[in-house]
Each structure stands twice: as C-alpha cells, then as structure tokens.
C-alpha cells in the first residue's frame, strides 16, 4: 500500500490535468463537478466531522459570488451605475483589469465569507442539532431575499459580469483548471487537517459536546474556526462560479437554497459522512446521476432528484464509504466501526 499510494495520487493528478482534453465536450460539466466536490468537502468539515449539519452553507457561495463580482467591477467602474446599465455596452474591461479584478475579488470573497461565517457563527452555533440546520437555512433564505431587494448590486435582476477575454474554449479550460487547482489544494489541506489535534477536537465536539467542553476544549472557538475555513473555500468557489456563469441573479443562482444548498448535503450523505473520500465519491456519483436524469427524464428530473434525496437519507444514510466500511472493515485498517444507535429496538 505504501508504495502504491504515491503512484495512485500521481495517476489521479495526471487524470485531473488531462480530463478536459479526454472529454472535450464536457469541460463545463467537469468544472461543475469540481464545484460539487469542493462544496461537499467543505460541508463535511462541519456536517461530518463536527456534527453540525448546516443547510445554509450556500450563503457563503452566494456571498462569495457577489463579493467577487462587486470587487472586480469596482476597481474600474462605479458599481451602482454598472449594475443599473446591466452589462450595457459602454462598460469594457481590458484583460489586465479583468484578471486583477477577478484575482482580488476571489481573495476578498474568501476572506469576507470567512468573516461572515465567524460573525454569524457566534449566534448560530448556540443552536444544536436540527435547530442549527433550520437557523442556517433561514439565514441563507433571508440573505437571498435581502440581496434581491438591494438595488446597488442589481436587485432581483442580478449582475452581468464581463466575459472571459480571449478564446471561448480557452475560457472553459481556464475555469476548469481554476476549480481543479482549488479542489486539489482543498483536498491536500483536508488530508493534513484531519490528522491534526484540531480535527480530533472537532470530532470530540461531534461525539459529545458537553464532554468535550468538560475536557477543556473551548468548543465555540473550534466551531467558529472550522466553519470559517469552510466558508473561505466556499466563498472562493462562489466567486469563480460567478465569473464562469457571467450572469447571475440572487434567488435562483447565487443563494439557491433548495438546489445547490441541498445537493451538497446529499453528495456527502451519498458518499459517506465524516470521511475524506466520501464527499468526493458522493459528489461524482450525484453529479453523474443528476446529469443522466436531466437528459433522459424530461420534466421528471426534479421528481427523480427529490426521490434520490429521500431514498439516500432514509435507506442509505451511511453512504458508500459507510457501507464499504461495514462490508470490508479490513480496508479501513484500524478504524473502529460503530453502528448508529437505534433507540428502543433490540439489537439484531
């Protein structure tokens, strides 16, 4: 295994680099797949590793999208006038302006999203269990509604960003690699992060918060930091999405609570909560299923997706990794396997 591991990672990296050339028709699809992987991995940081199931992580996606766009525009033009004209012809960006604006925008999108998470966390982390889920969901819906009433950033119409300067196909590759680089960085970070004492502390919070606190862990600080790190990556991903989509509006694209906001949770559940690879495998699985149903079930795709969510949650909640772990425990080395406690029923 130890010899095979670097070979495996190198092969994977080669595949990631080569993928858009192997599947040239699916470049945008592959970029979206990376988005799903990033969102699923960041969701798992709080949901799987810390036991705080957020339904509102989409808030950072939307916030990142808006921050990146506003920063990118504001270094050249007045934002209010720009959004008023709604991408009218007079507003041109040179390639330098475009890339500097985007770079600055993405950086600020990450930093400010993390700050938003930190501030909101002070209030929201007072809730436990389902109340945290409802509270975060409420925050995300409210954010979308408030932004759609904010005329300075385009109101309900949203923002139309400049198009990628240069060849259309090169633009597609550019966004694919942007997402891919971010995803790989996130993966390497999490691979290290989950081995630290810090991760052990957030796992302790998941398993029993009262005991963790009694052991001297400053739980709120750990929760805030973890959520802020997750929000940092989600914010950047949202910013990239904004530039990739060119035009976005608040309710259906940026703060899409019932689409992407739930999809990322389902990805994690499909793959397996609280594992490094689970969210990635789940995201790939979910994205493939979603695209197939989108193409072949005209009109019924949403029903199928809803059914997939219900079936995953009700019948298959441990996900693929959980299922594998119960079938082939030896593959997981010395991992201790615990079955979920079913209260009130005798052990089988």
């Amino acid at each position: 295994m130890t010899v095979l591991r670097p070979v495996f990672y190198l092969a994977l990296l080669a595949f990631i680099i080569a993928a858009p050339f192997l599947l040239p028709d699916f470049r945008t699809q592959l970029a979206t797949l990376w988005l799903f992987i990033i969102l699923a991995m960041t969701w798992d940081m709080t949901g799987g590793q810390m036991g705080y199931n957020s339904l509102g992580n989409i808030l950072f996606y939307g916030a990142g999208m808006y921050i990146a766009a506003v920063v990118g525009i504001s270094i050249v033009y007045d934002v209010g006038e720009y959004t008023n004209a709604f991408g009218g012809g007079t507003y041109k960006f040179t390639p330098t302006q475009y890339f500097i604006g985007m770079g600055l925008g993405l950086l600020l999108a990450g930093v400010l999203s993390a700050a938003i998470a930190w501030i909101m966390g002070y209030l929201l982390f007072q809730f436990r269990g389902p109340y945290f889920a409802i509270g975060t969901l409420g925050a995300a819906i409210a954010a979308g509604e408030l932004v759609s009433n904010w005329e300075w950033v385009g109101g309900g119409q949203g923002i139309a960003l400049p198009v990628y300067p240069g060849d259309f196909d090169v633009g597609k590759l550019f966004f694919y690699y942007l997402f891919a680089v971010m995803g790989v960085i996130l993966f390497i970070f999490l691979r290290w992060f989950y081995t630290t004492r810090f991760a052990a502390a957030i796992n302790a919070i998941r398993d029993d918060e009262e005991k963790a606190e009694a052991m001297g862990i400053h739980t709120l600080r750990y929760k805030l930091t973890t959520w802020a790190i997750a929000a940092f990556f989600v914010g950047i991903a949202g910013g990239i999405s904004g530039y990739q989509l060119i035009h976005f509006e608040p309710l259906e694209t940026a703060f899409q609570t019932i689409n992407l906001g739930i999809f990322m949770v389902v990805c994690v559940l499909l793959g397996g909560k609280g594992t490094l690879w689970g969210p990635i495998i789940g995201a790939i699985l979910f994205h493939v299923v979603k695209e197939v149903t989108w193409n072949y079930l005209l009109g019924w795709q949403w029903v199928a997706l809803g059914a997939l969510i219900v079936v995953t949650v009700v019948y298959f909640q441990d996900g693929l990794m959980g299922w594998l772990a119960s079938k082939k425990p030896e593959w997981f080395g010395e991992r201790v396997i615990t079955k979920p406690d079913v209260a009130g029923e005798p052990a089988e």
Partner: protein, 304 residues
C-alpha cells in the same frame, strides 16, 4: 430610508391603517395557524420536523381546485381535500416517515425536504406553474370610516372555517380515546407502548391528521387567496416560525402565534415594502429561535 419613515408616519397619522393591517394580518394568520397546526402535533408527538408542510397545504388546494373545475361546490372541496390528503399523508408515513422517527432529527428534516421538492414538482407537472384560485363570486364588505377596510366575505368564511376546525381538533385531542393515546405517546412513547398503546398506529394517525388539516387549509386558501406549486415553502417557513414560537404540541398557542405572526408580517410589509415579506418571515423565524434560546439560557440549557 425616507420611505420607511414615511410609512411609519402613516401609521400614526391615520390610525385606521393599523386596523386594516391587523385585520388583514389576522385573516392570513388564521390560515398560517391552520397550516402549522398539524406540525405542532407531529413535532411534539413523533419529533419529526416536516419541511413538506407547506406542500401538503398546496396539494390540498389543488384537490379543491380541480374539484371546483368539474363543477363541485368549493365548500365540499374542503372536506374532500381533508380526506384525500389524509390518504396521501398515510402513504407518506408508511413509505418514508415511519423510517425516520427513531433516527436523528436532521434525517427527518432532510428526508422531508426531499419530499417537499418531489411534491412541488409533481404538482407543477400536473397543474402547470400558473397561480390558481377559485372565484366564489361573493361581495366584499367595506367597513370603517369611508369604507376603508375591505373584508372579502370569502376570506371571512375561510377564517371561520379555519378556526372552527382548529377548535374541533383541540376538542378531539382532549376528549377522544385516540386523542388521549396521542398525548400519552407524546409524553413518553416507551411508557405508552408498555401500557398497550400501538404507537405505530398513533404515529400514522398523527401524521395523517397533520396532512389532512394542511389539505383543508389549502382548500380554504384557494378560495380566498391564490396557490401555485412552489408556494409551499412560504407556508413551511411560517409553520416553523409559529410552532417554534408556540412550543411543541401547544395547540391554543399555535392559534395565537399564527394570528400574531400574520399581523406582524403585514406590518413589516407595510413599513419596508412588499418585496421584503418573505425576508421578514424568515428573519422572524431566526428572532423566535433566539428568544427561545435566551429562555433556555436561564436554565443553563441549549436549544436542542
């Protein structure tokens, strides 16, 4: 900002505006209360947070609407929606809810979210995405100085039906054998089982009752307001606000909270503009959660 101050000034300059807002709020609030009604039971008895609540309401509305289309009087549509949604609720319980009761609460939240998406989309495929309503053809009363306050008779009937149904359910819970069994299960499910109550039956009954009440609420809404396949989430959000504010299983509290939230929301819409109505409803939810949290704090407990 000037507009907001102007709107607030209007409230003091013409006190009758307040009355109009409150009456409007109570009329819609009664329906919010009715859609939250079953949730208070389901949440309290079986600890399931049903995010598909609003979609049950809308589905009931479509039952009454399609019956009115073939010429059946809308008033018959209310009991019909009650019965049909009872069946759908029972089916939902057997297929999905039964399997999430004993699991952690996030599971039920997410599973019902999936259900909500399915319901909304199936309704959309069956009836299209246009807004629909039944026109009863009743007059509108003009009350107050200069006939300033409009009270459509259809809405008035809706409120009366909603409130009588609500009181009927309270009586049922107090007097009937099943009502007693439901309350016993809510207090301690295991003890209830030991004493010979078939809790599975109680759960199935509670969830079906919830769905049926929602259906009746929808049938009333389609007469006095409008429905659309994707309006479900608005009623779900309000139902959550109301139940969280009233406390689980507290039915009279649900009525009071429903009327109060209806009025508050109308005030918010008047002051900040109609575009903020949804945002206000959601922010009210967060506010109620925090007030609950502060109450729990006094006992050094967390909201769980």
């Amino acid at each position: 900002m000037d507009q907001i101050i102007g709107n607030i000034g209007l409230l003091f300059e013409f006190p009758v505006v307040n009355l109009k807002i409150i009456i409007d709020g109570i009329m819609i609030g009664a329906l919010f209360a009715l859609s939250a009604y079953g949730l208070a039971l389901v949440w309290g008895v079986m600890n399931v947070k049903n995010l598909a609540q609003g979609d049950f309401v809308i589905a009931g509305g479509y039952v009454a609407w399609s019956m009115a289309n073939v010429g059946i009087h809308p008033f018959i549509g209310i009991p019909a929606a009650f019965v049909v949604m009872w069946g759908i609720g029972w089916l939902t319980y057997k297929l999905v809810i039964k399997r999430v009761i004993e699991r952690d609460l996030f599971t039920s939240l997410l599973a019902t979210f999936g259900l909500a998406i399915m319901f909304a989309q199936i309704l959309n495929l069956m009836f299209g995405s246009d807004t629909q309503s039944i026109d009863l053809g009743y007059a509108t009363l003009h009350l107050g100085p200069g006939g300033f306050i409009d009270v459509p008779i259809s809405k008035l009937i809706g409120v009366v039906v909603a409130l009588s149904l609500a009181f009927g359910v309270i009586l049922f819970m107090k007097r009937s054998r099943m009502g007693q069994a439901i309350r016993a299960t809510a207090q301690d499910a295991r003890a209830a089982r030991v004493l010979g109550i078939d809790t599975d039956k109680v759960y199935a009954f509670t969830f079906s009752l919830n769905s049926a009440i929602c259906g009746a609420a929808g049938a009333i809404i389609v007469m006095a307001w409008v429905i659309q396949p994707f309006y479900g989430i608005t009623y779900s959000v309000r139902a959550f606000v109301i139940v969280t504010a009233a406390g689980l299983g507290n039915l009279p509290g649900v009525i009071a909270a429903g009327l109060g939230i209806g009025a508050l929301e109308q005030y918010g819409a008047h002051i900040f503009g109609i575009g903020y109505q949804q945002a206000i409803a959601v922010l009210l939810l967060l506010l109620v959660l925090f007030i609950r949290l502060l109450q729990q704090r006094r006992n050094r407990q967390v909201l769980q």
